[in-house]
């Protein structure tokens, strides 16, 4: 893998966005991924890798993974800057924590495009733009769906994501803000399931023990936990999907399957396939196009009506 050493590094100080590191016309692109646990993150990384490998003569992608640690990820960005890559895709672990890393990139004239989450700073200045998956909105949509399906009356168990993660906070907030509009919708119990099926199953089991038939809906911050909750409900002799409505976020294949099996009601897509959008945005930037501060990615909603249709393309 000789090509990975950055050839012709001193390629002259280009203007912002200009390639300083074009080894034989190739652009070196750094991707800073926050972590790689779970299908969603893997799908996201694969999407970006896949897009880069479509044009092997044009892009040379370097992926760094931060093991879910903001400090580590900030360091990774700095490492990419030190290598003088031509552009950075940053999937930040959380909003705060990247001011300095972004400043470093800026001073080295390396454009940064934020992927899937925001980081504090100004688009067009601290970074190019955000390709956003709106986690708060995902929570809202889940709540909306539930409000309609339950006629604004539900006793909800919330299985939240890993403590301290910003998605956990966002998906919780969006959901709560929305159900606050419906006085008869209550979160009767909320507990972390660590985005983990097995853990969620155990937690759900205990909550069922405590609340039993009171529970009319489960909102899980991701599909894996929803699947764990379904197992717990079935083990307790309850009928997920009918007795208890199951709503979650992600749209992974096994969740669509569960919807088809009637055990789950709906999952809000959190589209991980940022690859095409990211590169297209970068090209636009290099072409000098004006970019909006936020480029949204489309999140679909999967339920009984469309699950079969998208099953095969789901990750």
């Amino acid at each position: 893998r000789k090509e990975s050493s950055s050839g012709g590094s001193g390629g002259g100080g280009g203007v912002a966005g200009g390639g300083q590191n074009n080894a034989g016309g190739k652009k070196v692109i750094g991707f800073s991924q926050m972590e790689m646990d779970g299908p969603w993150r893997i799908a996201e990384t694969e999407s970006i890798k896949g897009e880069a490998s479509k044009k092997p003569d044009k892009y040379d992608l370097r992926v760094t993974v931060a093991q879910g640690d903001t400090a580590k990820q900030a360091a990774n960005v700095e490492d990419l800057v030190a290598q003088r890559v031509d552009a950075i895709f940053l999937a930040p672990r959380e909003t705060v924590g990247f001011e300095q890393a972004l400043a470093t990139a800026k001073s080295a004239n390396i454009p940064v495009i934020l992927v899937d989450r925001e980081a504090s700073g100004t688009a067009g200045d601290d970074f190019v733009t955000v390709l956003k998956s709106d986690f708060v909105k995902q929570g809202q949509r889940a709540a909306d769906w539930l409000a309609t399906a339950s006629n604004g009356k539900a006793n909800i168990v919330e299985l939240s994501g890993t403590s301290g993660a910003s998605v956990t906070a966002d998906r919780g907030k969006g959901f709560r803000d929305e159900i606050a509009k419906h006085p008869e919708m209550k979160i009767i119990q909320s507990q972390t399931g660590d985005f983990n099926r097995a853990k969620a199953r155990d937690v759900m089991q205990n909550i069922i023990q405590a609340r039993g038939k009171e529970i009319t809906a489960v909102y899980a911050h991701n599909d894996e936990m929803a699947l764990g909750a379904i197992q717990a409900l079935e083990a307790a002799g309850m009928k997920p999907g009918t007795d208890v409505l199951i709503i979650s976020v992600d749209g992974q294949k096994s969740a669509l399957q569960a919807i088809l099996d009637g055990k789950m009601n709906v999952t809000i897509e959190s589209n991980p396939r940022f690859g095409p959008l990211a590169f297209a945005t970068l090209e636009k930037f290099w072409a000098g196009e004006k970019l909006p501060p936020i480029v949204g990615i489309e999140d679909r909603l999967f339920d009984k009506t469309n699950a079969a249709q998208f099953l095969n393309e789901a990750y």
């Binding site: 790689m36 646990d37 779970g38 299908p39 893997i42 403590s163 009767i188 119990q189 909320s190 507990q191 972390t192 660590d194 985005f195 983990n196 099926r197 097995a198 853990k199 199953r201 155990d202 937690v203 089991q205 205990n206 909550i207 023990q209 405590a210 039993g212 894996e224 699947l227 764990g228 197992q231 083990a235 307790a236 096994s254």
Partner: protein, 333 residues
């Protein structure tokens, strides 16, 4: 042939008499449960029975056992390791390796998949033991290295960190099946605990474990095969972690290489020390470990049932660990 010098006769008879009297007591004192931990468990259960609605319920007790099973399996192995004065941080990663291997090989049939998972777990355990005993490197470092490496290996096996779904009914029965009214994994857990108690109480291997933990060079000079004993405990720890990994996967109907067994080493160590096996080695109580694990599980369960945040259960667990160990610490002059 005067065999008795003056001082001889006096001491002998008292010793012999007393030795018989204390025979039964020793069963409990040396290898049995520690009453402090047992009392704490009973207290916790009673308090919950009163204050936590629906806690005192057969179903709930079954759930508690079901949930604690993987931790207990790992903790039993950890108990043996700790009794030799070692520690095994790699157990969580070993669980992930076993789960991943079994899950990715289920199409070859149940038995090959399960055996493959367990064999890999055993192999990692043996590797731990061989490195620790052969190269004489501190257990905490060897097993830390395998904790890091092992997790990576499990993810590689899982086709790059994918969640591997399981749809083999027979395999899943390990996590969901019942033997009579008792869940299969609980039966496995109880069997393992029973065998471990028997091994530690009644076999020479059990004594070698504590002898090695108590004074390694003395044990060696008394003919104890120290290397073999150490390799055995790490191998057992690996094997039991492997079993726990399979049960976790069967329960979740999926193997998630990044999540299976994450941080379980800390739960297991906590269970062991709360149960009364000191980290210095040389003493052991398997029943204590079971009790320790149950204490931790009851806290988790009741906090889940009461809807108290996970953060607070951490604080309570920390307090329990400290208090339990404080009560059971050896008396010093």
């Amino acid at each position: 042939m005067q065999n008795a010098t003056p001082a001889n006769s006096s001491g002998g008879s008292t010793a012999a008499g007393a030795s018989r009297r204390a025979g039964a007591r020793s069963l409990l004192a040396d290898y049995g449960p520690t009453y402090g931990a047992l009392a704490a468990l009973i207290l916790l259960v009673l308090a919950n029975a009163v204050f936590t609605p629906n806690f005192a319920d057969v179903n709930n007790f079954r759930n508690i056992l079901l949930q604690v099973a993987p931790t207990v399996l790992v903790a039993v192995g950890m108990t043996l390791v700790i009794a030799t004065g070692g520690i095994d941080l790699s157990v969580g990663s070993v669980m992930a390796i076993a789960a991943a291997l079994a899950a990715t090989n289920l199409e070859r049939g149940l038995l090959p998949a399960v055996l493959l998972g367990l064999a890999a777990a055993l192999a990692v355990g043996i590797l731990n033991g061989a490195l620790i005993s052969g190269f004489r490197i501190q257990p905490i470092i060897v097993t830390l290295a395998l904790l890091i490496t092992g997790r990576g290996v499990a993810q590689v096996i899982s086709r790059g960190g994918q969640i591997i779904l399981i749809d083999n009914q027979n395999f899943m029965s390990l996590g969901k099946g019942f033997v009579g009214p008792v869940p299969t994994s609980v039966v496995v857990m109880l069997l393992v605990v029973a065998v471990a108690i028997f091994v530690m109480r009644a076999t020479s291997f059990g004594r070698y474990v504590v002898a090695v933990g108590g004074n390694e060079s003395a044990a060696r000079l008394a003919g104890v095969k120290v290397h073999r004993t150490k390799i055995m405990v790490y191998a057992l720890s690996g094997l039991l972690a492997g079993m726990a990994g399979l049960i976790e996967a069967a329960k979740a109907e999926a193997s998630d290489a990044t999540k299976v067994g994450l941080y379980i080493e800390l739960d297991a160590i906590a269970a062991v020390v709360v149960g009364g096996t000191p980290l210095t080695g040389g003493r052991v109580t398997v029943v204590g470990t079971l009790i320790g694990a149950l204490i931790m599980q009851v806290i988790t369960t009741s906090f889940n049932m009461l809807g108290i945040g996970f953060a607070w259960s951490l604080v309570l667990k920390a307090a329990i660990i400290l208090v339990a160990v404080y009560i059971q610490r050896p008396k010093v002059a």
